[in-house]
Structure formats: C-alpha cells, structure tokens
C-alpha cells in the first residue's frame, strides 16, 4: 500500500485557534445581521454571501482541520465546491439569459 503518506490527522491544533475562530464566527454573525438592516441595494446579497463564505471557510479550515489535512482531503473539498459551482452557475446561466433575445420562450 503505497499511500500511507502520514496525513496530518495526528496534528493537534492548539485550543487558542479554536477560540479565535469561534470568536470570529460570532462577531461575523452579528455583523452580517446588523448589515442586513442597512440597504446596500443590489450589494445586499453579495455582502451577506461573502460573509457566509468566509465563515464557512473558517469552519472548514480549522474546525474541520482541512488546513492541516492531506492533499487528498483538500482535493475532495475542492471537487465539492467545483461541482456545486457547476450546478448553480450553469443552471443560473439559463435564468439570467432568458429574455435577452426578446422573443418569449427563447
């Protein structure tokens, strides 16, 4: 079995990192909640999603140890994000371009 590359699973993450991430997550939750009461027009969704993506990355990288993990784990995570993007963006491309032609149904 060739691939016993020592994955860093045994790496013990210092507790302060957990607390730091936790603190950031809580702050960001209340920041995004507060920001939602300010009207940024079309930027509302982008700001909210940007904060959500940042929070999710923190959870994945540190709570889920992706930051310290083997290359294969990182590839799997990347694949998930890539395929989710395919699903969302290619389908939305249809919804976004409907009506461009000015002919109903095209």
């Amino acid at each position: 079995m060739p691939n016993h590359e020592k994955s860093a699973e045994h790496h013990v993450v210092p507790k302060r990192i957990y607390f730091g991430v936790f603190f950031a997550l809580v702050v960001l939750t209340w920041v995004t909640t507060y920001v939602s009461t300010i009207d940024l027009g079309r930027w509302n969704i982008f700001v909210a999603l940007a904060i959500a993506i940042f929070k999710a990355s923190l959870v994945a990288l540190f709570f889920m140890h992706v930051f310290y993990s083997a290359r294969l784990t990182k590839m799997i995570v990347t694949a998930a994000i890539f395929w989710l993007t395919l699903l969302l963006f290619i389908t939305m491309a249809d919804f976004w371009t409907r009506g461009w032609m000015g002919v109903p149904g095209r």
């Binding site: 009506g99 032609m101 000015g102 002919v103 109903p104 149904g105 095209r106």
Partner: protein
C-alpha cells in the same frame, strides 16, 4: 400525407426544412464515414492479425508508429468536424428563434389533450391550423395544464408549450398540403391522441377559409370586450395619453420599456402583460401604488392571449404590425370551418369544430 402508406423521408414543407435536411445529410455522411471506417478496421484487424499458434505479438512501440501524433489527429479532426455541426446547427436554431417582424400571428393553447388555436382575425379552430403558403407564421404558445409540445415534422420544428409561460415558434410554409401536427412532449393518457393537421393553403383559399370563419371578431376586439367586461377600463384610461393617476395608461405601452418602483426596468412584452394581470403585485410601475387586484382564476389562458393582443393593438407603431395586417373582415355566424381535405386520422380527437368552441370570451 396519408395517401402513401410507407415512406422513408418526411416531406419538406417549410423554408427551414431544406436547411435542416442539408445539415442532416452532412451529419449522416460524417457518421457513415466513421462508422464504416471503424467497422472496416475492426474486421480487417480481426482477420489480418488473427492469432496463429502460440506466438505472442511483438510489443508495438507506440512512439515508433507515432502514437502521440495519432492521438492528436484523431482528437482534432473529430473536434473540427463537430464544431462545424455546432455552428451549422446553432445558425439554424437562431433563425428558428427569431420570428420575422411581419409574421402572421397565431395563438395556441394546449390542454390535455387538444390544441386550441386562435387567429388574430378571430377565427378559431381545434386540432387544426390553417395557414397561407409563403407567409411567415408566428405562433405564441401556452398551456393550461401540463407541458405539451407543438411539433410539425414537415416543418422540422417544435417547441415546448409550458403552463404559466409563453413560448414562440415560427415557420414559413412553402408547400401546399396537409401535414401532421403532433404533441411531442409526453402529456398524459391521450398523449398520442393530441394530434392534428396543419393545412397550408394558397392565399386565395386561405382568405376564402377565413371569410367562412367562425370568429366573432378579431382577437383584439374580443380582448377589448373582455377588458371592459372585467372592468379594467374603469381604472386604466382608454383614451390615448390620458392619465388618471391611479393606474398606468396602456395606450402605446406594448413593446416599450417600463420603469418599476424599485428602479429596475422591464420590457412590456407578452409575459409582462400576462404577469401583470395574474400577479399585479410582482412588478409595480414607478409612481403607482400597489392597488390592482389579481385576476388569477378569472381569466383563462385563451382570454389572457386576447387581452395581450388587445394591449398589443394599442401599442406603439413599432410593435408587431399584425393587427394592421390587411385581412378581410370576418363575417360572423357559426359556420363550420373549411372542409377538411385530410384523411380520417386527421380527425382524431377533433371533438368539436369551431362552433363548439364559441364560448364566451375569457371566462367560462
């Protein structure tokens, strides 16, 4: 269509059909070439290199016979040939997607399991469509229930007919005759009975058919009476350029760009008119209040098409000039439509000819 009992190639009866057939010929040629090439190689190698005795073949050094070059060649040549297929197909598709400006308008409503067709001049038919030869025909289609699909093989064109939306199909018949109309999207029990006939007639026959038509008035006229019947006119002013401050003026609206109260802009097309009748709150014109009640459940899809046509008839001059099309005025009266020239199968599902369809405009 029905006289011949067996044929291997469909008749080409529209302006686009020749292009589709040419593309088909190209595709068949490319496919036949590669199928035969592969088949020949497989059979030839199987015979030529048949194993004799225990001899193992000498390992072939792929580089010595240009393995990489071969791989590139047999990737790039098919890719090139396919991109031709793509470009050719896309150009046909875009032609099919853009109806010419002065097309004759026909409105189609699909429901399980029949086609209801309204001509702009007011004639109505079920499972039959009469059109003049060498005129561009533009269909606006919608469904009352499930997804259907309006398919005329002789014209090489089809479009899905969706509930809650309008879709568009156009063709220019080039050959007089009677052609199959099929529902091509599975729609339930009698899917295969949702068939009809498209009659392509010369201009004189067509006008004679129209004059014998059964319609009450043109679609726009019927739309107007429905408009009044529903009381739309009490708020939407009917005189040009008059504003009453509560509801937008609909004169000259169609085809223009409307600014909404959230600052976005939307084109006043068929879908917008339809949505505004059924879901008036979805898009509110800038400067107006959200006061219009919904007419969902009060107007049928047929009626909606008439309302849309009425508002289109009020539209700006650059809009579809269909209502200005010179067609003879309709004689009224419940007369049967033109005598069918088709065989018995065309009558499949032709439950009611036009007179049976003379329901009150709109609501029933």
């Amino acid at each position: 269509m029905g006289e011949k009992s067996f044929e291997l190639f469909p008749v080409a009866a529209s302006s686009i059909a020749g292009h589709v057939d040419a593309l088909y010929a190209y595709l068949v040629l490319v496919s036949a070439f590669f199928s035969l090439l592969i088949a020949f190689c497989v059979v030839f190698f199987a015979v030529k290199y048949r194993r004799k005795g225990d001899e193992l073949p000498k390992p072939v050094d792929e580089h010595s016979i240009g393995g990489m070059v071969l791989e590139i060649v047999w990737s790039v040549i098919p890719l090139g040939l396919s991109l031709v297929m793509f470009a050719w197909g896309a150009s046909i598709f875009f032609t099919e997607s853009r109806p010419p400006a002065d097309s004759l308008e026909v409105f189609v409503t699909g429901k399980q399991w029949m086609w209801k067709i309204q001509h702009i001049e007011g004639a109505r038919e079920i499972n039959e469509l009469h059109v003049p030869v060498n005129r561009d025909i533009r269909l606006t289609l919608t469904s009352e229930d499930v997804i259907h699909d309006f398919y005329v093989p002789a014209f090489r064109t089809k479009t899905d007919v969706l509930p809650g939306r309008y879709t568009t199909e156009w063709f220019r018949p080039t050959k007089i005759g009677a052609y199959h109309l099929f529902c091509a999207e599975y729609c339930g029990t009698k899917h295969s009975g949702m068939v009809g006939t498209v009659y392509v007639m010369n201009e004189a026959d067509y006008e004679q058919w129209l004059s014998k038509g059964s319609g009450e008035g043109s679609m726009a006229e019927e739309g107007q009476s429905l408009f009044n019947q529903l009381g739309c006119g009490t708020c939407h002013p009917s005189e040009i350029n008059k504003q009453n401050g509560r509801c937008p003026n609909l004169n000259g609206l169609f085809g223009t760009t409307v600014e909404l109260n959230d600052g976005t802009k939307v084109k006043a097309d068929e879908a917008y008119i339809r949505e505004s009748v059924l879901y008036p709150q979805a898009k509110i014109v800038a400067g107006y209040d959200n006061i219009m009640p919904t007419f969902k459940g009060l107007v049928t899809e047929d009626g909606l098409l008439k309302l849309v046509e009425y508002i289109r008839s009020l539209g700006p001059a650059e809009g579809m000039p269909s209502s200005a099309t010179p067609v003879p005025t309709q004689t009224s009266g419940p007369q049967p439509p033109a005598q069918p020239t088709a065989n018995s199968r065309a009558a499949n599902g032709r439950a009611g000819a036009a007179p049976a369809n003379r329901a009150a405009p709109g609501n029933q």
